[in-house]
Symmetry: C2
Subunit: 930 residues, 2 copies
């Protein structure tokens, strides 16, 4: 981390002010023009295609030229401003620049003429992302800016102008990262209407019920025109608005008309905002590829509008940036309203709810979540295995490839599922390459830690019972790496062809591979049976299991027939009257659920009870209960969804119970805090519900529940999905969707997902259900969900090498989650510890806990630790944020800076502590070989 | 005229060579990349809209940004090159630039990094333009470049990359303007195929049968890809070709593929050209609005292709310009084939002949021609009337507005008729404004010359017998200004309501206004009669006629009925099987002509015989023979062309005669030299005729004829039209066309011309027919055609002021045409004299003549004269051009420089002498008042 450099960027007083073109005037209406581009890190084209401008026949967009052109134009006038957002693109562009250009850009940044806002690797989706991956992608981007530009490169403003609804947890993250404010573009049209009327377009978002204000308070502004310029003032090459035609000899001279129109728009906008400062976003998707028309015409606009001041006009236009605008709002000393809920679901009109995308591309959503798990493991093993991890017996490995692939995948047209198919394929491919690199690193690291150089295989198709090694070997060993800071137990299903195995330290039982799974494999494997057993692994470490074939191949016990369980899986066919099936927007039909005949098999042994349900040729489910477990597992398999009837389909599972949930249900925000939801209701305004189904869907990142006084039914999921509760006691989760029509929101193709075989993607997933008293529900679902997010990594070796390892001296306290452990530079690591309980959800765990960093690791010696902001781009001690008056608060909070030693206290709320830990490796002391 | 400045621009040796990126290598194949933009001076948008980038929803194009961006990018690397063509745009852009930018641009021009090619105000059409207007528009552009940049701004290369066929007269003009070479893009696909096979893509065009070579010899090259880059290498914002993706980590890395493809294309191109130099046009319509992608990718292309030289590649790519490329061709010392015919008609495939546009928008074509006549009169009267012309009793007038409007109207999507309707309206509007300015100037000048300040009216609707002054006045005077250097006589039809008038010095007869004309006026006038009489006017001067009403309003003599004349007007309906009616391309149908019933009236008096024919409600014609005239006048009126039958129509007039013309006919080239045409035949290659009608149409700018040993039927027209001879003794002229479908050549709308009243444009025009022995035909049609082009300007005053004036001491010899007399600067005028006969067309006039400049003018004293190139941007004495070896010539000609005194000899061929004449005004001596 670089020390804070000399601040040249302007931070107090009027915006810039170096030239008349960026001066504010206290007695006038100040219109802040913010030139910007919105560069999707993949959408209709892949991130690479967007960078270079390849495949322009799909969409004209080439980011390399945007930065070329903007840098060129900024130099022409010191008054001009530009903001840049997506570090994934900036980073690549920077790497191609000459020293000369770099110097120019550095100076532009230092002078505040080029300002970074948001600054993450991408602008993440808010509905389908997990906070862990969001923090990682932000850290990746912010670190590059900090390394490159120091303090002047640190974004002060979060900027989520395009995501389709806004999660409270994102606001909390931004606040904890030290942002002064946040702007976005999309919110429910009814909400926006009300806010305009009430002048509540700008507010303070109190983004946590657990954190003491203002820790998670974030000043939040709704932009006036999404993120576009006002109508008639788009001067990009992609627009067709008339330029400022100021030659009086010209046929189409339009200066007077344009100035009148601009002043009129400005005044109308000022009417719905509180202060005499308003913001206009001058740009849009991939704009400024040619910055000349934009700047040339804005120069003229500013000139001609301000020239009216001589004639008494009180409108003052200036080049500005979001941070300059924010500062003026801050200086205005207004009282701002408070917002405590979130901005889901998002509807852009009465019948277009953007809720279908909570489930879109369920396979990609799962692969992203699995990849996050692997990345955390990869990060940890890079630290734990030392330098051999990156260059060891299995070659060169790295975590950076996966880190970048994961960062790109957080984009709001990536894991969201709102991209074109070929782009979705590209995200998956990038993750796949990340897997390759991480698997080498993991192999190297495990070799170092276990002492065994026997090659490892990672069976990635275990979910369809395919693994050539376990299928064919008579004697093999399985390593179970646990990335959590507490010991785990885990149920394993391995495809085998024998009927009887001995499993060291466990009880392995064989059951037949289900018909559904056999059909699914389509030639990728032929294992007849599954070997099922429970494994344990130590915290931040691994155990090893040796498996030896006893019996020959043959059928295991015949499964017994049993009655259907009470949970049903249902298919909601869309009615023929509604042909619009939407990729962002959920099918807006008033659906009647149709019941389907099903076949059921039950398999039961000492390890597991399975009820296998086949609802139709393309819908099946396995209900599992493991010995000693309290949660029920639902493994659903859906697809290929048939569309030869001309109808797209959205498939849900509905969990009906006797819980008196009334109209309430609960969903998590980005996998962290939980928000209450209510049918046909919004906390902020008097909802006129126009869509009884789509208008009641919410994103579920890790869990959802319903409850009454006595019981809580909690569902933990393995990926982000859409969820609702449309009836008392019922919770429905959308699992898969296949559509035949585009939704006219830009993507230009229906969400059909043909899959590898062309007939429609088959998706398999898991839900974990717990039924508990409400008081102890969190005690169950918090660890359950963290275990689902950071699941053990299995690897297999021929023969029976065996080892056990833990990097911790002891488990961390149950309330503490080890969020991040990754190599920062040669002698330091980034460590994030998190109190994972909300302030009032657990009698047992919602309490302060202490962790002694010096006594934490077994193989690493901590020689120092420095506490950082959540984004790791600022010393926590230096973190100061703008203060905002919310009126109702007794006082204006000041930032409570938390100086730390190597002993850290995690408060009795959900809070993260983020350290750069300086290490001495203490090799070998905690390794046990057998 | 500025004296030639110090030449900094590189003129000998390899191209540029300052950097490795613009060096040629003698032993390699040198690929000259020529970055360029093609900026139509109006087409889908008006010239103003194109300049500013207005109405981008029609077409994305904004020239201001092209020049902004290119100048910015050129500065980034001295190797980069750009050419600019259309001075109409450059001039406007220059006027908006700061001194700093102007200095930068001047240096770029001096260093040859920004090179002007062609350099006229526009890139003129070649089929429908008159040489007089073409020379004017070129002069306007070249003068600006010369005034601004001196010698370094003088274009060396003519560049007509887009016009739809190429006129020999244009080549002759370019040669006489001192251009070293000429490049174009469009020629008949069969011709191109043959030339590629024979390596005759580059040639010497011997562009005159009268001028001694190499005076009108012009090195001419056919560009390989029209004016586009080779397929796959278009890197404009408007293109979708993949950029050079040279990051090896990128998914779509394509450097090897692109380099292989480029080398392969280069070698294939070299196979059809003669030398080891080839040219690639890197640009297209309105490209380089963002120059960054172009230059960035060309930089990389050059880098990566030339990097192959290390591995033995013999392909060398460089930034170049047409003049650099031309110079390399010149150094190659090849023998070049000779071309003597022209490049009409142009077909881009077997069934797409671009011949319909020879007639498209006949009203615009006429208005343009009339405007040229007014401009020449305006120019002359600006000189003759002195400074009072520009600021006199009627206010401020000028010729510059009309000069620019006319220059713009020469564009290949202007007078050609190939633009959108709203753009055609804009051209007409510009000309209309030019008329206003010129009419003030003319009024001022005539006031000075005649001594009468009585206001003048210019009755612009005389062609439909509308003129409020003559209709209502009992006593008025008509001024007849004659812009020719010889006396003229002219027949005048004035709308009147009286039945009897006295006309001073003439015999005025009254005939009734025809039914056809009455219908045409639609409320714009109600004159019952026309007063017909002959007028005379002195050379370069005027006469005045006083008209006094004698009888009251009433009907004149009843017209007599008579038999139809032998000339017939026919309508060619297009067959229902062919629905494609084309705006550039003539209807490609095999037509059968249908005869139509007609009604005929004959009016006859001592001044005129009229036969009035009505073929249908929308087709009529008047055949006139004036007393004492040898030519027959056909006044045709066509429209509104009905299309409610779902068929577009192209209306022709067919003149059938007993002349044994076999398959031959003759058409003029841009109003000057005449070329022989032959049905189903091209002089250059063995034609496979695919379109029996469209494939035989040629442009007729001023005249066409058929002949045999005894007789020649010559038709002189008042505007450019398409003409053919499909049968022995027959000549057909297309008069009007109205179509229902676009022709898919870009204009995007059918040529429907709704006209002022929305039901279809009505067009009226005149053809003059002479029947003479072939030997004396030119003696008749040369003056007839010049009189049609430069027709007298009539103006009317109430009362009977009277004056006569001639600016010449005497008529010029009949062979000499005064082409240009216009104010150059305060004390000098530009004078162009022209021998208007071809070398062998007249026994009487095809001889040398002498004009004594000092004795030429009556009111102006010539104190000096300096002979110029035709473009007036170079002293004739300094004019040297590259020499080309055509093998068959006995020797390589050198430029014969023609030093001049104030006495000039016009050779016995069609040649122009162009002077800057230095004057002392000799006011008043030659004015005669009555």
């Amino acid at each position: 981390l670089k020390p804070p450099s000399q601040l040249i960027r302007f931070r107090s007083g009027a915006c810039g002010g170096q030239t008349p073109y960026n001066s504010t005037k206290p007695s006038m209406l100040n219109v802040h023009l913010v030139p910007h581009t919105h560069d999707d890190v993949g959408w209709l084209k892949t991130v690479d295609q967007y960078y270079y401008g390849g495949r322009n026949y799909i969409q004209h967009a080439g980011v390399q030229y945007i930065l070329d052109s903007v840098v060129s134009e900024l130099q022409k006038d010191p008054a001009r401003r530009f903001i840049y957002v997506e570090t994934a693109f900036f980073h690549r562009w920077w790497s191609e620049q000459s020293a000369k250009t770099r110097n120019i850009v550095t100076q532009l940044v230092q002078e505040g003429r080029l300002e970074f806002v948001n600054g993450g690797w991408c602008m993440s989706d808010e509905a389908s992302t997990h906070y862990s991956a969001v923090i990682d992608q932000m850290t990746l981007g912010l670190r590059f800016l900090n390394d490159t530009f120091g303090e002047c490169g640190r974004p002060r403003v979060a900027w989520h102008i395009d995501p389709f609804g806004h999660a409270r947890e994102h606001a909390s993250i931004f606040a904890q990262m030290g942002y002064d404010g946040f702007f976005f573009g999309r919110l429910d049209y009814q909400d926006k209407g009300r806010r305009m009327k009430m002048k509540e377009m700008e507010m303070v978002w109190r983004a946590s019920e657990s954190l003491k204000p203002p820790t998670a308070d974030l000043f939040t502004g709704v932009l006036p025109n999404g993120y576009n310029p006002p109508a008639g003032f788009c001067w990009d090459q992609s627009c067709s608005d008339d330029p400022v035609q100021d030659d009086p000899e010209l046929e189409d001279y339009n200066v007077d008309d344009l100035v009148n129109k601009f002043i009129s728009i400005s005044k109308a906008q000022a009417d719905v905002y509180k202060t005499n400062h308003i913001i206009m976003t001058m740009g849009s998707d991939f704009q400024y590829e040619n910055a000349i028309p934009w700047y040339k015409n804005m120069d003229k606009l500013i000139h001609y509008v301000n020239a009216r001041q001589k004639n008494g006009s009180a409108v003052n236009v200036l080049y500005s940036t979001p941070s300059c605008y924010l500062q003026e709002l801050n200086l205005a000393k207004q009282i701002w309203p408070i917002k405590t809920d979130d901005f889901f679901p998002y509807a852009d009109d009465a019948h277009d709810f953007w809720t279908g995308y909570f489930t879109s591309r369920p396979a990609l959503k799962r692969y992203e979540r699995l990849s996050n798990s692997l990345l955390q493991t990869c990060n940890q093993l890079e630290v734990l295995g030392g330098s051999q991890s990156r260059d060891g017996p299995f070659g060169k490995g790295d975590s950076e490839t996966m880190r970048r692939a994961m960062a790109v995948a957080q984009h709001h047209d990536a894991v969201s599922g709102t991209e074109k198919q070929h782009v979705a394929n590209d995200y998956a491919k990038r993750l796949g390459i990340g897997w390759d690199h991480c698997q080498v690193l993991v192999s190297n690291s495990l070799a170092a830690l276990s002492g065994s150089n026997v090659p490892r295989v990672f069976c990635e198709n275990l979910n369809i019972s395919v693994c050539p090694l376990t299928e064919g070997s008579k004697r093999f060993s399985m390593n179970v790496y646990n990335p959590l800071a507490r010991p785990i137990s885990w149920s394993v299903h391995l495809p085998v062809n024998g009927s009887s195995y001995s499993v060291q330290d466990s009880n392995g039982m064989v059951i037949p591979v289900s018909k559904a799974t056999q059909n699914l494999r389509r030639g990728r494997g032929y294992a007849k049976n599954e070997l099922v057993f429970q494994v344990q692994a130590p915290p931040l470490g691994f155990s090893t299991y040796s498996i030896i074939l006893l019996g020959r191949a043959g059928a295991p016990d015949e499964p017994k027939r049993a009655a259907p369980v009470s949970m049903q899986n249902k298919v909601r066919p869309t009615t023929p009257a509604l042909y619009h099936y939407l990729a962002y927007v959920m099918c807006n039909c008033n659906c009647n659920c149709a019941c389907v005949h099903m076949c059921v098999c039950v398999c039961q042994n000492s390890v597991v009870q399975e009820v296998r349900q086949q609802f139709s040729p393309w819908v099946s489910q396995v209900v599992r209960l493991y010995e000693g477990s309290r949660e029920l597992e639902l493994e659903w398999t859906i697809g290929p969804v048939p569309v030869d009837d001309g109808l797209g389909k959205e498939v849900i599972t509905r969990l009906d119970s006797s819980i008196s949930s009334a109209e309430y249900f609960y969903t998590d925000s980005n996998g962290r805090e939980v928000l209450q939801r209510r049918k046909d209701y919004r906390p902020t305004w008097d909802l006129k519900q126009t869509e009884p189904v789509a208008g009641n869907y919410y994103p579920m990142n890790s869990r959802a529940f319903i409850k009454d006084k006595g019981s809580q039914l909690t569902v933990v999921t393995d990926r982000s999905q859409g969820v609702s509760s449309l009836n008392n006691g019922s919770l429905e989760i959308m699992l898969h969707r296949r559509l035949l029509y585009d939704d006219y929101r830009g993507v230009g193709e229906p969400l059909s997902e043909p899959g590898e075989f062309g007939d429609g993607l088959v998706v398999r997933g898991r839900l974990l259900l717990t039924l508990t008293p409400p008081e102890t529900a969190a005690d169950a679902h918090r660890p359950l969900a963290q275990g689902m997010v950071l699941q053990p990594l299995l690897s297999f070796q021929d023969g029976t090498p065996s080892a056990i390892f833990s990097a911790l001296q002891a488990s961390l306290p149950p309330a503490v989650h080890l969020l991040t452990l990754s190599q920062w530079d040669k002698d330091s690591v980034l460590l994030r510890l998190e109190h994972q309980y909300e302030s009032s959800e657990s009698k047992t765990y919602s309490k302060p806990v202490t962790v002694n960093l010096q006594k934490m690791f077994s193989t690493l010696k901590v020689v120092g630790a420095s506490e950082m902001s959540l984004g790791a781009n600022q010393w926590k001690a230096n973190m100061t944020r703008l203060q905002w008056n919310t009126g109702n608060d007794a006082h204006i909070y000041t930032c409570s800076s938390h100086t730390s030693s190597t002993s850290s206290v995690a408060s009795p709320q959900l809070i993260s502590l983020h350290y750069i830990v300086h290490l001495i490796r203490n090799r070998g002391t905690a390794m046990f070989s057998f």
